[in-house]
């Protein structure tokens, strides 16, 4: 029997029972669409997080007080270091040949107010090279002028969201805002960008690091943000930082250096695993659809016993009868898979249009895996009824028994 004839024969059987066929197609397409949508969302989340980190620059190194071996987990917020990081440490790091920028950072929470409007936010105390290190850009005005970071000047730069919240449509440049108990003159507004290791830079106020130390009464630094001169020099810069701080801290290795690429890698792995997990959960629905195919095909075999008997009487050997029923199951699962694929891709596209900031992306492996599982499901669950049909006694089958 020729393959096109087998498929045509199966096609006539499928179209003869439209309700049954539609039911199976629906189940299979929902299963495949679930796999596609969930993996697209997972992949989208991965790309989004990766993108957010990459926007901050890939040469980034974060120096934390405390000697904790960390490769991407939560940074040690409460350092266990016998020595705190200081502005002088940051200045010393800048002297290293492989380190391009070394920006001291102090973080604290304080209310920021302008007129009657007030907002409780995180305050970032830093130096004039912060924009270079984090690749931030200025929307209005300017960033801090080059100055000794030990000078506590009363100027600030606002994040875009904070500026809008406090000033709404008014130009904030030159205006005075109150940060905690002190007043700062707004000299610039940052353009919106990704988060900096857990901080939303658009909803913050940046003040000079010495001002922040004075405001929060902290003599030490929260961290130092450094960058290497190139991506290739990242490892060398890391070693230089450890060496310089060791020298300054009397030979103690009391800092932790986090690399941006290690953080990205860790998040990438976590989100990849999550994507696989949700794809696996969605694939269960494909197995359920497969069981439905098997049940419906078993009913079909029992209703078409006389047909099987006739095929055998006409000289169809066992394998031919089996092929006919298997091709029915395969056509059902493939058609369901294709419909599901289209549904999934269209849904992913619609989510993309609906939430443009979230890059929903359907990975090719998900398409291939969904179609592969679909075919395997069809063949696997179709083989049981097909074998049952092939094994029917032709005499009994002809009599419909």
């Amino acid at each position: 029997m020729r393959a096109p004839d087998a498929f045509h024969f199966s096609w006539t059987a499928l179209t003869a029972y439209p309700a049954r066929t539609t039911l199976i197609l629906l189940a299979m397409s929902i299963g495949v669409a679930s796999v596609i949508i969930l993996t697209s969302l997972g992949e989208g989340a991965r790309q989004y997080v990766k993108g957010q980190f990459q926007m901050l620059g890939s040469n980034l190194l974060i120096v934390l007080p405390g000697r904790t071996e960390t490769s991407g987990g939560l940074p040690p917020l409460l350092g266990t270091s016998p020595r705190d990081l200081t502005i002088d440490d940051a200045l010393a790091l800048k002297r290293s040949r492989s380190v391009q920028y070394a920006v001291p950072v102090v973080v604290g929470a304080a209310p920021v107010s302008y007129g009657s409007r007030e907002r409780e936010i995180m305050i970032y105390g830093s130096g004039h090279e912060l924009t270079n290190a984090l690749e931030l850009s200025i929307l209005k005005g300017q960033f801090f002028p080059a100055d000794d970071p030990r000078n506590a000047v009363s100027i600030c730069v606002l994040g875009e969201t904070l500026s809008q919240e406090l000033f709404q449509h008014k130009n904030p440049i030159g205006e005075w805002v109150r940060v905690g108990e002190r007043r700062f003159r707004v000299i610039g507004v940052l353009r919106k960008k990704g988060q900096s290791v857990g901080m939303d830079m658009s909803d913050t106020a940046i003040i000079p690091v010495a001002s922040a130390q004075s405001l929060f009464n902290i003599p030490s630094l929260f961290r130092i943000i450094a960058t290497s001169r190139s991506k290739e020099e990242l490892g060398r810069a890391e070693q230089d930082i450890i060496k310089v701080i060791r020298q300054r801290h009397d030979g103690d290795d009391d800092i932790t250096v986090l690399r941006q690429d290690a953080l990205i890698g860790t998040f990438d792995e976590i989100l990849k695993t999550l994507t696989w997990a949700v794809a696996g959960i969605a694939a269960i629905s494909l197995i359920v659809a497969g069981i439905l195919i098997m049940n419906v095909m078993l009913v079909s075999v029992s209703q078409r016993k006389a047909e099987v008997g006739l095929l055998k009487a006409l000289g169809a050997p066992t394998h031919q009868v089996m092929t006919l029923f298997l091709s029915e199951a395969l056509m059902l699962s493939l058609a369901g898979g294709l419909i599901g694929l289209i549904l999934g891709l269209v849904s992913a596209k619609m989510i993309n249009i609906w939430i443009p900031d979230f890059p929903v992306q359907t990975p090719l492996w998900a398409i291939a895996a969904a179609l592969f599982i679909t075919i395997v499901t069809g063949l696997l669950f179709g083989s049981i009824p097909a074998r049952q049909a092939a094994k029917l006694n032709p005499v009994l089958a002809l009599s419909g028994k």
Binding site: M1, D5, A13, A16, L314, G315, A316, P317, T318, V395
Partner: protein, 233 residues
């Protein structure tokens, strides 16, 4: 052409063993026209299934054109059935979703013939049967007689030497029955061996050789020089 020797076939029904065929010996020559009659449960359908290779005997020998068939594998039995034996059933057994032409094409499709060859052959056969205008009709759109004629054409499309008919007129009115018998007898006249299993005495009497069965045995095997040609069905 056919030699059955000591064919036995029994079935287990509950605790009892039913001997459907009990040491059957039968020789059928090429071109013969036989009828097998008997009451229900006499074994006539089992014998037909045995001759059609749809069933396997428990013991005995079945030779067809000097070839032993009882030892054939399932696959070989299927291909032998396709090439050498045609079946006609009381309930026609046309596939309801296929057209008359589609049903007729089935054996050709199973043997892997190309669509163009199949269409050519089925068109010719439907033309011969006077059913050319019914080619695209589904079985439910055909009369009983037309359905049985399509079924006969399907059985004969590969020109097998043996035609087995199980109550071929059982579901037909007198007129359609007569038409169908006429077609079958014409086929027999062309040299095809025709074996009809029937309850119908009148139909049975039309055969030149009449076999009567009882309890799985042949109790009468009679050759009539003048078959009852004018028997009204």
């Amino acid at each position: 052409m056919i030699k059955l020797r000591d064919i036995c076939r029994s079935f287990e029904v509950g605790d009892e063993t039913v001997h459907a065929l009990d040491h059957i010996n039968l020789d059928i020559a090429q071109g013969e026209y036989l009828s097998i009659m008997g009451a229900s449960g006499s074994g006539k359908s089992t014998l037909l299934n045995m001759l059609g290779l749809l069933d396997i005997p428990n013991s005995g020998s079945y030779q067809f054109e000097d070839k032993e068939l009882t030892t054939l594998s399932e696959e070989k039995r299927a291909s032998f059935r396709r090439d050498k034996i045609g079946f006609i059933f009381q309930s026609f057994h046309l596939i309801p979703r296929l057209t008359a032409a589609g049903n007729l094409e089935l054996p050709l499709m199973l043997m892997g013939m190309s669509p163009s060859e199949r269409h050519k052959l089925t068109s010719e056969v439907l033309e011969d049967l006077g059913l050319a205008d019914r080619a695209k009709h589904l079985p439910k759109q055909l009369s009983g007689g037309q359905q049985q004629r399509v079924a006969i054409a399907r059985a004969m499309i590969l020109k097998p030497p043996l035609l087995l008919a199980d109550e071929p007129t059982g579901n037909l009115d007198t007129h359609s029955g007569t038409e169908v018998i006429k077609v079958l007898e014409e086929l027999n006249a062309s040299g095809i061996t025709l074996l009809v299993v029937t309850h119908d005495l009148d139909l049975g009497k039309r055969a030149k050789r009449r076999i009567k069965m009882l309890d799985g045995r042949i109790i009468k095997d009679q050759v009539q020089e003048k078959p009852a040609e004018k028997v009204i069905l």
